[in-house]
């Protein structure tokens, strides 16, 4: 979930109201924007925004914008304007197969200070990472407008075809060198490295602005407190993402007092003006409000709540409401998305809960009931129940044919267990300092490859380790379990690598091996650092339950 810091004072200024410092009271207010106070220390407020689908809330300006509505300080559709201008950006057709879309804006008369720049960088990072899918879908670039000569061109170059000083470096580098040497090139290079040519932005004087989506140039691509006017661009593979991300950045700068001017983006003969601060009309059914929220609202109340959520209300008819959705609400997909906001503005604390009127018969799965019976039976034999992870080190398993994890975090958990015996012996090997005899059992899942599928069964394992562990005991215990469960079985000779030859037996149920038991061989004991004799019984519950 997006978490970020900002100045509490700045936040209050943007909202236009003094806010409580008390943790719980502040929390109650931030609930309207689905955010939680993590910490307020001095002037630094750290919040976590729960909504990962609302990029407009991932900056202090956006939180303030939404909160002004919730607190009834400024309601309805927020007004953002972009002035017409003559700035142009040409899109070369060579970008089409690599990174086809770009949207841009010019924002003037800014009064930057360090905290504002920090917020901007924070927003850019969050939008690129989450909304822009780690820059693949969209990536933002911000430049010092006064050092750019229009028109700007978005085109491609050969990996070694140009050189410029990338941000944070002192020497000129080619795109190819940037991908292999610059930290951002190494981090994001895979987005473009498979292409024959790389995207580049240059101005009318052929000065390089940036190499999207990797890195800005060190001169025009640097924002400082002295910067008054900026050029913002977003490139990407999704037109709607590119436009939305640009709108978000431009509107945030407008909140800071900037004047937004649009740019004509020319794709050959076709042209498009960006940014586009246009609201969309979304119709919601009044019946859906009561159906989803369970609360009855009159027209005035519906209008009031929607406006507090910063929607515009175009028209209310007998059965529907025409809602104007601000351009930054990219999360609105279904009428329920709007209706939830009505509920939030109504206040969850004002919604009276209703007992579930559904009367149903509860119950456990047959397997759960069976497992319970079995566990009690085994505990009665004097065994301590243990629980182990499903993931294990492949090396521990007796049977190497197992389900392996493609991206394990560590070798100690790189496969799924296919038998419980090795896992239990592993448990004993970590407890050799505890008193003997040690008698343990577990009922749990094991995993097996079966063509294109993985089959999961529940197994029972019991292992006893101590001076008295012998075949007679394990056979007596096996029979005790099976007879109590009224299972018809046969006992046959069996070979299993972990057991002493001639002291291992299979349990046959309906002509199939349902499990085995016997005395563990000294080689296996040594492998698990066990100095006492041990016996074990492993049973497949599915075969047992037939």
């Amino acid at each position: 979930m997006p978490t970020f810091d900002f100045s509490f004072k700045d936040f209050q200024n943007l909202v236009g109201k003094k806010l409580p410092r008390n943790h719980e009271k502040l929390w109650d207010i931030l609930l309207f924007v689905k955010s939680e106070v993590e910490e307020l220390e001095g002037d630094t407020l750290n919040v976590e925004v729960a909504d990962t689908n609302r990029p407009d809330l991932w900056c202090v300006e956006g939180l303030a914008r939404a909160l002004k509505g919730a607190l009834n300080l400024e309601t309805g559709l927020p007004v953002y304007k972009s002035k017409k201008s003559n700035y142009e950006l040409k899109v070369d057709k060579s970008v089409k197969k690599i990174r086809p879309y770009i949207a841009c804006a010019v924002v003037k008369n800014l009064n930057f200070n360090d905290p504002i720049i920090q917020q901007l960088i924070q927003l850019q990072l969050k939008l690129d990472t989450t909304y822009g899918r780690r820059r693949r879908k969209s990536a933002i670039g911000i430049y010092d407008f006064d050092r750019i000569k229009f028109p700007v061109t978005y085109k491609t170059v050969k990996p070694g075809g140009i050189s410029f000083i990338p941000l944070g470096f002192e020497k000129r580098m080619t795109p190819e060198e940037i991908l292999s040497e610059h930290p951002k090139g190494i981090e994001f290079g895979s987005i473009i490295s498979s292409c024959k040519k790389y995207p580049i932005l240059v101005d009318a004087d052929k000065k390089v602005l940036s190499m999207p989506p990797i890195i800005n140039s060190d001169d025009v691509g640097k924002i400082t407190e002295a910067t008054k006017n900026v050029f913002v661009e977003v490139t990407g593979t999704s037109l709607s993402n590119v436009i939305s991300a640009l709108n978000l950045v431009a509107s945030t700068l407008a909140d800071r007092g900037g004047t937004v001017e649009n740019v004509k983006v020319k794709y050959g003969r076709k042209a498009m003006m960006t940014p586009v601060f246009k609201s969309e009309i979304f119709r919601i059914n009044k019946a859906s409000i009561i159906k989803r929220l369970g609360i009855e609202l009159n027209d005035k109340r519906i209008r009031d709540l929607l406006e507090r959520a910063r929607f515009g209300v175009k028209k209310v008819t007998d059965d529907s409401v025409s809602v104007q959705v601000p351009f930054y609400r990219t999360d609105i997909m279904h009428e329920f998305d709007v209706i939830e906001d009505i509920g939030i503005m109504y206040g969850y604390e004002n919604i009276i809960s209703e007992d579930l009127k559904i009367s149903t018969n509860g119950g456990l799965l047959g397997l759960s009931d069976y497992t319970r019976v079995l566990r009690k039976l085994i505990a009665g034999l004097g065994y301590q129940e243990i629980l182990n992870y499903y993931r294990v080190d492949k090396e521990v398993l007796f049977n190497a044919d197992c389900v392996e994890i493609a991206n394990p975090m560590s070798n100690s958990m790189n496969a799924l267990r296919n038998e419980l015996l090795p896992v239990s012996l592993n448990f004993l090997s970590r407890n050799t300092h505890n008193e003997y005899p040690q008698k343990i059992f577990e009922v749990g899942r094991v995993f097996e490859k079966k063509k294109a599928e993985v089959s999961e069964h529940n197994h029972l394992i019991l292992v006893a380790c101590g001076a008295d562990a012998d075949f007679t005991t394990v056979r007596q215990e096996t029979e005790w379990v099976l007879n109590n469960l009224s299972v018809k079985y046969e006992i046959k000779e069996y070979d299993h690598g972990a057991f002493i030859k001639g002291r291992c037996a299979a349990i046959i149920i309906k002509d199939k091996v349902a499990g085995y038991f016997g005395e563990i061989n000294p080689e296996t004991l040594a492998r698990f650092n066990l100095e006492n004799p041990a016996i074990a019984l492993e049973l497949n519950l599915k075969k047992l339950m037939q």
Binding site: F336, S353, L356, I358, L364, L387, I405, A406, L416, R430
Partner: protein, 506 residues
Amino acid sequence: MDELSDIIDSLHDFEKKVLVNLNQPASVEKIMSLSGLDQIEVMRGAQWLNNKCLIVIKEDKSVIAKLTKRGAETAKKGLPELRFLEELDKKNNQSFDDLRKTAGLDANEFNKAMGFCRQSGFVSINQGKIIINNLGKEYLKKEGRKTIILKQLVAESLDVKSVKHEEELDSLKERGLVDVEEKIGRELAATPLGIKVIKRGVDLGRKLLERNTLQVIKSKDWESTDFRRYNVKEAVPKKYYGKLHPYQEFIEKTKDKFASMGFKEMTGPYVENNFTNCDALFMPQDHPARGIHDIFYIKEPEKTELKEYKNFLKKVKKAHEKGIKGSAGWRIPFDEEFTKKHVLRSQTTSASVRMLMNEDLEIPGKYFVIDRNVRPDVIDWKHGAEFLQMEGIVLGEDMNLRSLFGLLRMFAEKVAKVEKYKIMPDYYPYTEPSASLHIFWRGKWMELGGAGIFRKEVTEPLGVKVPVIAWGLGFDRAFMAERSINDIRQLFTNDLSWLRNAEVKH
């Protein structure tokens, strides 16, 4: 009956035989010869008497020196350098060969002795003859003590304290000729209470019954003979028996609670696929939280065929790409191969998805599951290698935000059993609206879980026409709170002793 006779009745045969011989303090060895018991029997009797405060056992540690195998040989022959010097002292000015023969040394011993004596300046060589000087003679006098010690030790092992020349003994030790070992001598002495017992008289001839046996019962010996009294307050060795795992018991208890509230248990596999784990929940396929850093994938079989869900797959694909009635969908291409990829379940919500697709689904219905999940988190005190979730669904025509709040209230009041709680707006990718439940517990607000009504984009492709409330409560935390456990890794502990000693809750 008085205290003394109670004590006497509790005495084992060994105890009696030891005690009657303790009018005077005596060593274990002496008691052995007096009582006819062997050492183990005396010691056991003594220990028991000691436990009953009838005797004290004084331990006397001593260090005993004895010859090693090499030491014994050397003692027979004498130390080479001393023999070398002795012979020279007897007859000075000897040739190499003569001296070697008279001292009875082999070539190796002779060379070593020669080297040592020359280096120490005990001898000089003149025209092929060896001459002992005063330094050598003095050394011989002093070192003669070593020979004496060796000879003494041939006769018997000695208490180190009785050996006069400590320095020489140490040197013999260093040369590996003498070994020392610690020996504990025990002296037994009756306490005043013990003396009283002895004075009262311990009847050695009086038989008491030891173990109760089939024989004793049948023969009716117990009618005429008393059982020896046991000291019931005495500690016995600890033993461990069978017991259920406290965490599993907590799971079972919670399952019962949900069943009693009318919820049916549902299930799903741990090896899931992208379809049931994410796609059917309308999570966009290109979402950054679906990469290899957030979900475990498996090597082989890499993909499932999703045979049983073919029809659902088509509809889910359409919902992602083109939306459903009233929703535009994600409008990004849906990768049918990616959706088939196996993953390790990252949330039990996939079990709810499977229930919705199950032909036995009941409407109205209430379902729950408690099961394991895994995500590639770095393991620490609050992130276990596997974590349990408890969640489920409630389906019904009239389900809305108010009923969802009713459900959360039920969890707060009946499951967590708290009076103070808050329901707040929240976000989950597959529910709209969504809410979370916070409870005031032990002086702090704590998030217990969340709930929401499944998005239409989730339910409609799965063929469910009524609203579905989806809910989930944190499970590991609940158990940690019950047990006051601070480290989540304790839940799947490898520590047998923790399990053996864990309290059984009721």
